[in-house]
């Protein structure tokens, strides 16, 4: 298939401006980027550097002002609303900074949601959602509601929901931005695990230590890529590496998926 030949993400001279006239803001000022299958990429930058804007475009939530974006070799700018919804549903898994879950809806129902939108039968999607929850170490919290979970647990549910459709690309926008270090570690472990089993993960962060989990680092400054380099493993202790393993939390009864 052609998807094997193409990068998952291919971006050429991507520009995004907000507003017009005097108040115009150039959030992205010509970004070039290619992300290949199985990569673990961190996008760093100070607040306002354009990280979220970039993620929204990569996630087909927004469209660029100019430039090209190919997802799996396909130019999504030609897609209509329905096709874009399908792309988001099948190819992309999102983890937002906070409030990613739908309130007053069980953890299981939250994770099932993308499968429901894909038209999968209830029994099948329940099974797959449970498996995804087990992967993130929350197999026993399926019937809880989001407000009964800690922030870290909520984000892990969001990760489970992002991976349940087995998407090509997982986009996480500051998934640990609102978490304490222990919770952060748990969420990052899950992302690490996903990458180890072959998923392409794009992790947006402004935290250097979080970025250390990825294998490649991109730095944005004023909507431009200023660094693009592989990550040198930093000495143990400086990142959260290795201190926790996925699916080994106290509540976990996980079996490998």
């Amino acid at each position: 298939m052609s998807t094997l030949e193409h990068p998952v993400i291919e971006v050429r001279d991507l520009v995004k401006t907000y507003g017009d006239g005097e108040t115009q803001i150039k959030a992205l000022a010509g970004v070039d980027l290619a992300v290949h299958r199985g990569e673990y990429l961190a996008i760093m930058g100070v607040s306002g550097s354009g990280k979220t804007t970039l993620m929204n475009i990569l996630g087909c939530l927004d469209v660029q002002t100019s430039g090209r974006y190919l997802l799996d070799g396909v130019d999504v700018s030609t897609f209509d609303d329905r096709q874009l919804a399908r792309v988001r549903n099948r190819r992309i898994g999102f983890v937002f900074q906070m409030f990613s879950l739908i309130p007053r809806t069980s953890v299981l129902a939250n994770v099932e949601l993308p499968l429901a939108y894909a038209g999968m039968k209830a029994a099948d999607r329940r099974r797959r959602a449970r498996a995804a929850l087990t992967t993130v170490g929350l197999g026993d919290r399926a019937d809880h509601e989001p407000n009964q979970l800690s922030g870290g647990q909520q984000q892990r549910v969001a990760v489970a929901r992002a991976l349940v459709t087995a998407p090509t690309l997982i986009l996480a926008d500051e998934p640990t931005g609102n978490l304490d270090s222990t919770s952060s570690a748990e969420v990052l472990e899950v992302l690490d695990h996903l990458n180890r089993i072959g998923r392409t993960v794009v992790l947006i962060t402004h935290d250097h230590r979080v970025a250390q989990h990825a294998h490649r680092l991109i730095e944005l400054v004023d909507g431009r890529v200023v660094t693009d380099e592989p990550i040198r493993r930093s000495p143990a202790g400086e990142s959260y590496d290795g201190r926790h393993r996925p699916r080994t939390g106290p509540s976990s009864e996980a079996v490998p998926a």
């Binding site: 939530l61 927004d62 919804a85 792309v87 999102f94 409030f99 007053r104 809806t105 894909a118």
Partner: protein, 402 residues
């Protein structure tokens, strides 16, 4: 996502905001209950009219003066007199007529030992009248033809009039004051059911001679009541009466008669038409309250959509098709409205146990089906704007909303 799941989701969302949903539901409840109940009142009154027709019998004709059109002479010549009554009683000219009763009538103040009551129908007539209108004497006796001839001041009271004047006392043999004259009560009529807006029991019936002498004066008759020999001879009786009147009143132009002859059922049809018009008017007011309830749904759904913008954004990011979101919010609006509809039906059924405007409401099963159908339609219609707002949100705007 299946329909059942969508409904379960909608119910959960409705229950999540109990007070708010409850108030919205109340709006629909009131509207639906009002519509069903008023249709039931209309239906009940139509049934009452129906009973009236059956009770009065379909074998009577009422002759009355046509409404005057200009020329005073015509009114004069159309005046109903005892002469006409005699002419109509002629067996040879009117073989299908069983009886002819002259009628003078009007509201009249009647009093008994300090208790005064205005009887809505004080009727002066002949004994045949009672049979023609199916009145039965429950106690005592009717007045007789001899009473008529001799101008005896006797009166037969309807159950309503008797109850108001005498309360617990026995009216038979007592003297009541009518205007300035005293009448002796000789009989009581049986209770009459089936009514529209006037109480048919609020009557007093006296010999026409005494009534004219003491109460109404010797003006023209208000009506002449003609009873045919049988219900299927009403048509023949009508043409015979018509011929007699034409001759007596020298009518040449058939299109412009000084009198009109109506069968009892025609009179009642006219009355039930009035009742129907009234019901339609009340129904329209009830429908307006349903409209207000519907606007309440739009309002609350707008609030819901705004509150849940972030949720809508997440759903869109997860790939919710526009149609699925549209369905989700439409279902929610419809569930709200249908709950209101169901409770409205319950309220209407409870309300129909009571007598309203003197009428016992009779709920039409079809009006329940209609009301439920309408409440679904209201949910769909008034929910469609907020739902399409939700479905049409750009994912990026929805996610950024705070």
């Amino acid at each position: 996502m299946t329909t059942i799941e969508a409904i379960r989701l909608a119910i959960r969302a409705v229950v999540a905001n109990k007070l708010r949903s409850g108030l919205t539901v109340l709006g629909i409840l009131i509207g639906v209950a009002a519509v069903i109940l008023l249709v039931a009142v209309g239906n009940g009154s139509a049934k009452a009219v129906q009973q009236n027709i059956e009770q009065l019998g379909s074998d009577t004709l009422t002759i009355s003066t046509a409404t005057a059109r200009g020329a005073g002479a015509r009114v004069q010549s159309g005046a109903l007199t005892m002469d006409l009554v005699d002419a109509l009683t002629n067996r040879e000219a009117t073989p299908d007529v069983k009886s002819v009763s002259p009628v003078v009538t009007g509201a009249q103040g009647v009093s008994f030992e300090g208790t005064a009551h205005t009887v809505s129908q004080f009727i002066g007539t002949t004994p045949s009248y009672l049979e023609a209108v199916n009145d039965t004497v429950a106690r005592g006796a009717s007045f007789t033809d001899d009473d008529v001839r001799s101008h005896h001041r006797v009166v037969v009271l309807g159950a309503g009039a008797a109850a108001r004047l005498f309360r617990d006392a026995d009216p038979i043999g007592k003297q009541v004051t009518v205007g300035v004259a005293r009448f002796t009560v000789v009989g009581l009529l049986g209770q009459k059911g089936g009514l529209t807006f006037a109480d048919p029991n609020d009557v007093a019936i006296a010999p026409i001679t005494a009534a004219q002498e003491a109460v109404s004066g010797y003006g023209p008759l208000n009506q002449i009541l003609v009873q045919a020999v049988a219900a299927d001879r009403v048509g023949a009786a009508r043409s015979q009466a018509q011929a007699v009147l034409n001759e007596k009143l020298h009518v040449t132009n058939a299109a412009n008669q000084p009198f009109q002859i109506l069968s009892q059922s025609q009179l009642l049809t006219a009355r039930s038409d009035t009742a129907r018009t009234f019901t339609v008017f009340l129904g329209a007011v009830a429908a307006l309250s349903l409209l207000v309830g519907g606007i309440g749904i739009t309002n609350i759904m707008m609030v819901t959509v705004t509150e849940r913008t972030r949720e809508i954004g997440i759903r869109k990011a997860l790939g919710a098709p526009k149609r699925t979101l549209l369905t989700q919010f439409l279902t929610e609006a419809t569930v709200l409205s249908l709950i209101g509809g169901l409770l409205g039906v319950v309220a209407a059924i409870v309300g129909s146990q009571f007598t309203i405007l003197g009428i016992h409401p009779e709920i039409l099963p079809s009006s329940i089906a209609l009301a439920l159908g309408v409440s679904v339609a209201i949910g769909l219609f008034f929910g469609s704007y907020p739902a399409s707002r939700a479905a049409g949100l750009r994912p990026i705007d929805a996610l950024r909303y705070e």
